[in-house]
Symmetry: C2
Subunit: 982 residues, 2 copies
């Protein structure tokens, strides 16, 4: 059996053989190998660096007294930095797995999107978690920034989680059982320390002392920065980080403190980074300067056919994230379509396929050449001075005699006619395709060892064929050929493509399913087959997950796994959250929708099924074990204790703790309930409990379970079903399309939650602008509107009134201008929501004055959609609009009745008076309005027919305009009429 | 070339193959691998443990900005713990050297005494530095105690100094040049950090911040101890240690603070150790319990000869320290002599030889058996009751009839006669020799994997032959045989001995020179030959060093090395101190006594001479480079600045800084000078400078150079030769037999120094008792006496008076009882010094009343030694003694002259009156006294002849006794007459 120490030794030796230096772990506590100066400082600047080291990584928060089988306050990382990116780091990495005896062909090894950012270090990168049969064993990151500085060259960071790897290889259920050295278990060596350090971090570290240390460290870090000594400064930043983590694990860090400490550390780390770069430059870059690879040269173009042929273009990438893959397919289609449109090359259908490792363009019937073509270049007028004419000719490399004449707008000009022969397809395509590659952009872009390109993940190869011929595309480092890459485990891992027409077939023969839909179908059918007849896969409900899985594999191989039935005692939401979010497994249910103790996972390519199944089962077991640990601990915790923990969680600096916020929510919900006559003992109790589960361990670990666990724990604690439901519903809706509260206490709490959030944040951090919305205020407002709309009992409640109540309860003043801004924001969100639901924008805008009572707006919209087909409404609307159009803005609806003389005037005056008398402006009801105002139609029309509004006599004119203004204003409280396009 | 990282990897692999675990360095700064819990905690208790790890060891004090070629603030240790001692750890260690390509047969690898103690950890052990061609590459220690607890089993700790080893193997002159990894130098990887951390430790660490950290750490350590969590507690003890070291390197630690911090750390470490042991016991000793090896069984005795044969007994040891070896030879001789005396075995001469690895007893002509013998056991009296008689017989397993009768003091007793056959020599010798081994004790003893033995170093084998036969000795784990061990590099490393008579020859054939004198001669002659004709070895002056060298080798091989002439610009004392004290090299001088740039070192055994020479030269170069670094830095430092640094060195808690002390010394010297009329400008200036070189870097490094460097630096700074000499002489004598001041300013300063030391310490820590004398007060007092005695100008100075002056200047009150105690101490030391010089103890005691003016005592002693042969003196002395004997104690020397009637009385009275008139009691001059008192002899004798002193008349008796008391008191101020045995 490979012992842990032997594995460390072999990995170190492997990377040493790849030219890495070996250094020692940092001699101060670090949370990750990244913090060691051998990473954090060395990735900065232009010097090359290649290093491997072991780093015991201290995570006080992960302390579990050594009881949890998978979680340790100190775990062992093996860290590798390759600077610059060697271009084949994934392959090198797979080689390292082989070095510790992992058969990467038999296992399911995958690169699953995982972007990394450390706010405290001003650092980020893009990359993956590497999964071994569903187990995250490595973090693999292309480092883009550190200490706030852009990294050039980019470094590859590979971080192995050694305990997990060894547990998997040794098939151990608990880290203590790992065979650390021959005959010596991990528990024997580290067990006592694990327990004691857990005690320290969770229970016994003195908070005041640790705060004192943190301050002294920060002070010393700053002094060293001032002294221009980045190395000791960095050490003290690390000590700050550890002290902070200890405070955190002791529950002593408020959100505000967290933010300010992160800001301080980020600032210090940034200064350290700058200093380091400066110092290395001063020292003359002792390790030299990385040299970027030479640009690639295209192969020589050869064209062997003159008939239309298929074009295939494959852009090979390292594993693209599913969302980016989807966007990239669309982008490639657009770029190719536009690119070809810019040529004179005839072609047929353009299709784009994608897998995590490739984007494939297939264009049918691409002509062999462009048609020949005459291009006219416009020159000076024929009367222009000779000098100008000669200048034009010389500029184009011809003599003035070669110029011809052509009229433009009747003016004769000299022109040059270029007779251009159509270019051959490969040449044309090479240009187009090069621009496709260089034009590719993702939502989040990165850089790698390519000097010019930027994309979601590195692009590593190009395959481009027009018929039998290679299209000589070359972009930056990449030059196309006829070779494609297969699965990394294929033998050989590459294949030559004979012709474009055989490309997809060649991929298919080698197992790679290029088309998303094909892969999806294989997965759905495969999964259903696996669980038949006992189980069901909720294909519709899991559509998003299935789509994601589809874009995680090239050759899908669904596998059925099982887990111990005992875990079914955990709440459904816990089980499925782990499956979906953490593992991308498909849950399996019986006919009644009850979860079965099984799951479907989808491997990539031909693996050893039993091995991979066992691996995935072990991972799920570990995760469930973890969840059970928290769940049991939570069940043992009185609700009051969890509630008490809320006071240790700060909501924001100025808005107090989460306990303060929960208090405000509860009080507000009860106030609103009283106002609406909806108060109840259920509401009262739920208001006391609201958000208590944020103090539970499980929700701390899986925040998406907030509310769900509240319901579960409340029931276990003996609360009534109604109260439990209300604390659950208080969190609804959690996102667009989520369920809405169905009970009044739940709805009131949900509303109160969102009102409190919006009022408080608007007054402190401000409303969100642009794409930044860290507190998800937009989502809260959308929820606010949705809950109001879905709760008929709230129809009479004005959200602006409710906001004012919420505002009054904030610990900060919320001024009227803030409330006005929030109202505006609310209206905009309502407009957005309604139009996204498919309502015509004009009608939406017409009802928007009712944004504060969105259910009223809903009613009105419904009435409008009926009314728009109705002649009476049309006539009323036309009459009102007619009046509105002629009345200057600012005219008020009062007039001297004595000045009205004409019969049509008088008739209208009578009609207006009658309608006014019969209309209750507080009743918002379109049909009623139409009925009531129907009598106006005829008088309005007669008025316009018979009367010249703009009479010369100013008094008469004023009276007529006043009368029309009265017409205009009749529907004022109902609709924003000018918005309506009828 | 073996890179440093490869060396670490190979050593780790080597020890892993020996069953060691690999762990990571400590993730908090440590000064040595010993502090890692994998050593400090794991050596405690009975659990076995075998571990190897790399430990970057932080020594803030060694910061040199990366400029010094051999000294780093962080160096790399490779640490190995073998628990329990496997019994062959030295051989295992040599195997590890081979693993990194060191040919241990070609190099001179030696184990040189080096005992280790960490006061801060309550830890100590005995062992060696391992020298590779004179370079210390490893610390090798048998751990005896940690955290104040005795270790059982004992652990072997092996600590490699990696940079030094690699520099030697790669033949680099500067650590930065080390090839750390292929193509990457150490300087490139660690150079910047070395500079910056040096800056931090020497210049930039904030003292108040660091003090704050130290306190917080200590507080947290204590809290963790209270919480019974030894692991985090230990971590905080380590952090204390680092913070303390930083304060120290910033020059912010006074001696008092050092002592109190050490005490605190020792206490904390002790509590941690106890807690750890308790916790492991509670946990049921997860790693099990070490089992001590089984006792050895002696081989069966066989005797093949009946004629006297030689006995050879060899006790094989791991390398014994020279001083212990010398003592052990004597001890073995005594034990064997006594042991054989307790047998009835005839034997010839007993000789004992010794080398670092063996003690050899050779006894000539040991008889084959003891003579037969009748032993008489004394029983009850013949008249005793029958019961008693029967009991006696039964007790001896005989019947009462078997008893015989014998008279004791005329009383007839029953006796039992046992006819005992003489035992065979092997049997007798086995007993005797076993007791020799178990009785061996050193000045400082240790334990190893033997359950019963204790000695200076582990005993590993026994060879015991009587003639051709093995003597069946068995002691604890050891059983004797006929095999001896040769040099470890011999092939094979063992030899069988045919017979005792051939033993020494067999050793000799294999190169081992058993006899100290033979080895010494080989060294002396060899060294002289090597330097002939240019150089000289000062065989007499270096006798102690040569003796030490002689006991460091078994097969001496003197080698000549050279060093760069440039180093000769360093002071002689620096060069020779390094050679002698650090390297045990013999300095070489020319005819005029000028140092030549060469040295003689003595290797052990047949080595590759060129290799070993080069290695030793490199070591010396490195040391001289180091010394030059300090020397130059010191020369660049104004004397005033060095003096100023004295205020940062505290002498003791209560006695102030070294600056305070130097001030007191200067002032006192000038006071005494004034008092004696010996004041001078030289004294004044020297008094200002005294001890300034304690503030120099070189003296900080090599304290034995104090004074020598003061002279050198003073001269360089332009002080007069006289002043320079005085500050040098102020330090004399540095030890017994050292030179004494020859100038008056020097003598005054020396005296003042010692007076100040004694007065201050006596009043604070007290005078030394037993063997503990941490401030070397005894040496100071001996120096005080020596300087006084050697300076005629001081004859009139009373040391008790001078002490009172010194006492008055102390910052603490020094009471009369203290001064009395010091006087007593002074007198005792003088008595000791004089008797050690060979003066008869009675005369010494007789002059001891003059201890405060020891030169007076000297004079008197000289006069006494002349006088004792002189009849006049004898007569006077006899007369005085005669008077003293008869006069009761307490009788005063006054009498009623009127009561004197007898002529003899009157004659004596006249004589006494005349002598009294002629004697000046303040003049201490024996011949003059004898001359003056000569006239008393006759009257005294007559008085005793003629007069009955004890007259019946009380008045007469009183007068007569008073008269004799006057005689008695005539010499009172001169000698303590009763002490004198004439």
């Amino acid at each position: 059996m490979l012992t842990m120490q032997e594995a460390l030794s072999r990995l170190t030796a492997y990377w040493t053989a790849q030219g890495a230096l070996v250094v020692q772990p940092m001699n101060t506590e670090v949370g990750a190998g990244t913090l060691n100066p051998a990473t954090f400082l060395r990735v900065l600047g232009p010097e090359p660096w290649r290093v491997v080291y072991v780093e015991p990584s201290v995570r006080p928060d992960d302390s579990r007294y050594g009881e949890n089988p998978n979680r340790l306050q100190t775990h062992t990382q093996l860290q590798v930095i390759l600077k610059p990116d060697p271009g084949n780091s994934q392959e090198l990495y797979l080689g390292s797995l082989a070095a510790i005896g992992i058969d990467v062909a038999a296992h399911d090894v995958r690169f699953v999107e995982d972007n990394w950012a450390s706010p405290a270090l001003g650092a980020w990168g893009l990359g993956w978690e590497v999964w071994l049969d569903g187990l995250e064993i490595t973090q693999f990151t292309y480092f883009q920034q550190a200490g706030g500085l852009n990294l050039d060259p980019v470094s590859v960071e590979i971080t192995y989680g050694i305990e997990r790897i060894i547990m998997a290889l040794q098939e151990k259920q608990h880290f203590k059982e790992i065979e650390y050295a021959p005959g010596v278990s991990y528990g024997e060596v580290f067990g006592q320390s694990e327990y004691e350090m857990s005690r320290y971090y969770l229970d016994d570290a003195d908070i005041e002392t640790t705060r004192g240390l943190l301050d002294l460290y920060a002070r010393e870090a700053q002094r060293m920065i001032d002294a221009k000594l980045p190395v000791p400064a960095h050490t003290f930043v690390l000590k700050c980080s550890q002290a902070f983590n200890v405070l955190d694990s002791r529950g002593a860090v408020s959100t505000a403190e967290r933010a300010s400490e992160f800001a301080r550390m980020r600032r210090l780390a940034g200064e350290v980074a700058k200093l380091w770069v400066d110092r290395r430059t001063e020292l003359g870059l002792p390790l030299g300067t990385s040299v970027a690879p030479e640009p690639a040269r295209p192969i020589s173009a050869v064209q062997t056919d003159d008939q239309p042929r298929t074009l295939v273009f494959e852009i090979g990438a390292e594993e693209l994230p599913p969302a980016e893959l989807r966007a990239a397919r669309e982008q490639v289609l657009r770029l190719v379509t536009e690119g070809l449109a810019g040529t004179r090359l005839e072609h047929g259908e353009i299709r784009v396929f994608g897998t995590p490792r490739r984007l494939i363009v297939v264009v049918q019937q691409v002509a062999a050449r462009e048609d020949d073509h005459v291009r006219t270049v416009k020159g000076p007028k024929t009367q222009a001075p000779a000098k100008a004419i000669e200048g034009f000719a010389r500029g184009h490399g011809v003599s003035a005699d070669d110029l011809e004449t052509e009229e433009f707008n009747g003016v004769p000009h000299l022109v040059l006619r270029r007779h251009e022969a159509g270019r051959a397809a490969p040449e044309v395509l090479a240009d187009v395709l090069a621009k496709v590659v260089s034009g590719l952009r993702a939502a989040k872009n990165m850089r790698w060892n390519d000097p010019k390109l930027a994309f979601s993940r590195p692009l590593r190869w190009l395959t481009a064929l027009w018929g039998d011929d290679v299209v000589p595309v070359a972009v930056s480092n990449l030059a196309a050929g006829r070779q494609t890459r297969l699965l990394r485990t294929a033998v050989p891992p590459v294949a030559d493509i004979a012709s474009a027409e055989t490309f997809l077939e060649t991929l298919g023969v080698n197992g790679i399913v290029a088309d998303h839909e094909d892969r999806r179908e294989l997965i759905v059918i495969g999964a259903q087959d696996l669980v038949y007849p006992d189980g069901r896969i909720d294909v519709k409900g899991e559509a998003a997950l299935i789509d994601q899985i589809t874009d995680l594999v090239e050759q899908p191989l669904p596998l059925l796994g099982t887990f111990d039935e005992g875990y079914l005692t955990l709440p459904d939401a816990v089980l499925t959250t782990v499956m979906r979010k953490h593992q991308r497994y498909l849950p399996v249910r019986d006919e009644d929708g009850k979860l079965l103790p099984m799951f479907v996972t989808v491997a990539n390519g031909p693996v050893d099924v039993e091995l991979v199944r066992a691996g995935n089962e072990a991972v799920l077991r570990a995760r469930y074990e973890d969840a059970r640990f928290f769940y049991r601990a939570d069940l043992d915790t009185p609700l009051a204790e969890m509630t008490a923990r809320l006071s240790r969680l700060t909501f924001t600096d100025k808005l107090g703790s989460m306990a303060d916020r929960a208090g405000r929510i509860g009080a507000l919900a009860r106030q609103l309930g009283d106002r609406l006559g909806l108060g109840s003992p259920t509401l009262d109790r739920a208001a006391e409990l609201v958000k208590f589960d944020l103090g539970s361990q499980l929700v701390t670990e899986m925040t998406s379970l907030a509310g769900v666990m509240a319901r579960d724990y409340a029931l276990h604690a003996g609360e009534s079903r109604a109260v439990a439901e209300a604390v659950f519903e208080a969190e609804l809706p959690r996102n667009t399309g989520d369920a809405l509260p169905r009970t009044l206490p739940g709805a009131l709490l949900s509303l109160a939650d969102r009102l409190d959030l919006v009022a408080g944040l608007a007054a402190t951090v401000g409303l969100p602008t642009g794409s930044s919305d860290p507190f998800a205020v937009r989502r809260a407002v959308l929820g606010l509107l949705a809950v109001h709309r879905s709760t008929p009992e709230f129809a009479s409640l004005s959200l602006t009134d409710a906001l004012a109540v919420a505002a009054a309860a904030q610990p900060v003043p919320v001024g009227p201008e803030v409330l006005a801004a929030v109202s505006d924001f609310l209206a905009k969100r309502l407009e957005q929501a309604l139009t996204e639901e498919g309502r015509p924008v004009d009608r939406v805008r017409a009802v928007l004055p009712h944004f504060a009572r969105p259910s009223v707006a809903d009613t009105l919209l419904a009435q409008l959609s009926v009314a728009v087909g109705d002649a009476d409404f049309a006539a009323v609307a036309a009459a009102i609009q007619r009046a509105r159009r002629i009345v200057p803005e600012g005219t008020i609806a009062s007039y001297d009745t004595g000045a009205l003389k004409e019969p049509a005037e008088l008739a209208l005056h009578d009609a207006v008076t009658a309608v006014r008398a019969g209309l209750d402006p507080s009743v918002v009801d379109l049909p009623r309005f139409v009925t009531a105002t129907g009598q106006l139609v005829e008088p309005v029309n007669r008025f316009f027919d018979d009367v010249l509004v703009m009479a010369e006599d100013p008094a008469i004119r004023a009276a007529r305009l006043g009368l029309l203004a009265a017409v205009r204003d009749l529907g004022e409280g109902l609709l924003d009429w000018p918005q309506l396009r009828i």
